[in-house]
Amino acid sequence: MSSASIIVVIVNILLAVILAVGTTPIMVWWERRVAGFIQDRTGPNRCDIGGFRLGGLIQSFADMLKLVFKEDFLPSYIKYKFFYTISPAIVFFCSFLTFAVIPFADTLVIDGFSYTMQAIPTQLGIMWFLAYAGLATYGIILGGYSSESKFGLLSSIRATAQVVSYEAAMGLSVISMLVTYGTIHLSDMVAFQGQVLFGFLPAWGIIMQPLAAIIFIVTAFAEANRAPFDLAEGESEIVAGYHTEYSAMRFGLFQVGEYAAMSASSAIIVTLFFGGYQIPWLDTAAIQSNIYVVFGAIAISLLMMTFVLTKWMKKHYTWANPDDSRAREGKILIKAFWIMTLVVCGVLVLFITTGLGTNGVNIATAVIQVGTFLLKFFMMSLVFIWVRWTLLRFRYDQLQMLGWKILLPLAILNIFVTATFVVVLGG
């Protein structure tokens, strides 16, 4: 193996790890601040390290530290200690593994060798996602069952009923996507979505298959155990459901697993329906041939974004007491943002003036595509959070009605229509 291939593999694995696990503090921060803003309050904004509160992000780290240092309590009445211990790990591990097949960028060509931009370059594609996403629920079911508590058991029953209600519809909605794309490889699906329909529409999954997209997004919410389908947690009626008896980092693993599942679901939704790493009307070849124009556009948009952000910060990122160490943070952060932006713009200008080799252009394209994927991924995560703070939780029977009586027939109908289309058009 050449050093380039080792670096590419490490970068891919790091991306998957960071997106699945490392984004948890950021997601927790977003969740709290977005919830606050939606409900006309501020959310956590006071916790700081040396005056730096980063808009409240430090609170997530403080909470994480608290969970790490809490007593790891094991109730004495737990009979199945093994299941009790591994169930948070199952949730966490399965949600984390789903990330392994997400393509972060188009196939990267360095010195004639091409590398797949996935953490695990497996041929299983969407099957891998379905397998591990389904397995993650077993962690919840086992955890609730083995915690020897009525609330845990009720939650397990709910999780079981939930998983049998939505998994079928989810699988069937994926099948209609498979028929459309004609492949199970996620990278081929994303490559397909780089095309343009009728000369002006990007061939994204949501435009070609709106019904499958709706069904998949709804089931993905249930999959990730997020509101409005978080009835396994159901804090208003069954305390905390499956993690009632868990404390310290065991609970923390459940929490990280939940956010990892949310991240994985948003990544797979972006990959299947929102074009993955594709920029609309700008496929890989187009980026590579117009790389310097793209650099210029990125530099200008970066400057504009930093200008708007710093202007907002000057006005609103303040602290009531000017003697507090937190009052200085805004100015330092504004300077830091400008320095970062100017460094990136300087590098881009340097690239434009000196020019890049073939490898350089390919790597730059991959970086731009990873950036596009990240942008879409974070937008989708924001939608997950947004939905959680808008919709009410479904009742136990309502979810099953929705799964069996509405989503499943619609998914089957969608497969028929799609298959007919493909056959008639001579696919």
């Binding site: 006309d40 309050r41 501020t42 947004w386 808008t390």
Partner: protein, 168 residues
């Protein structure tokens, strides 16, 4: 008889589709989000230690105070009425003979354990001399030890009616 007919929702096709309802709800929450992101100064949260509440009413029962006569001597005559009325038994009084000619008795010690106190105001009601009041408007009393919460006569005499309250 006026009968109010409550409309039943959920029968129309639009309600059954559920998605228009979701979209409407998400639009509402998004409006709030964008409005508050653009200008966080509109948020209802007050940044507490820096911004103090300004809506404490005149009838708010805060930390107690002992009132004074016109010559600045203590009004209390150590009759033990407040200590008797106190359901939490947080008031401890030690009486002594009064030598300034104002009255017969006065408190030598007058301590209130603010950790025991339930801020019910019975002591204020019980006092025949209007000597104890709870109109300081102090709603947060901070200490690091239990002993600091046992306040003495000097502290109570130095407390004054809150400046935010109207004159009585």
């Amino acid at each position: 008889m006026g009968v109010k007919v409550v409309p039943r929702h959920g029968a129309s096709l639009k309600d059954k589709l559920y998605l228009p309802g979701i979209a409407a709800g998400m639009k509402t929450t998004f409006k709030h989000f964008v409005k508050n992101l653009k200008d966080p100064s509109n948020l209802r949260t007050s940044q507490y230690p820096e911004v103090q509440p300004d809506d404490i009413t005149d009838r708010y029962r805060g930390v107690h105070r002992l009132t004074k006569r016109e010559d600045d001597s203590v009004k209390c005559v150590a009759c033990y009425m407040c200590a008797t009325a106190c359901p939490a038994e947080c008031i401890a009084i030690e009486a002594e003979e009064r030598t300034d000619g104002q009255d017969e008795k006065m408190p030598k010690k007058f301590t209130i354990d603010l950790l025991e106190c339930v801020y019910c105001g019975y002591c204020v009601e019980a006092c025949p001399c209007d000597a104890i009041r709870m109109d300081t408007g102090i709603f947060s009393f901070i200490g690091k030890t239990r002993e600091e919460f046992v306040v003495d006569k000097e502290y109570l005499l130095n407390n004054e009616r809150s400046k935010d309250f109207s004159d009585d």
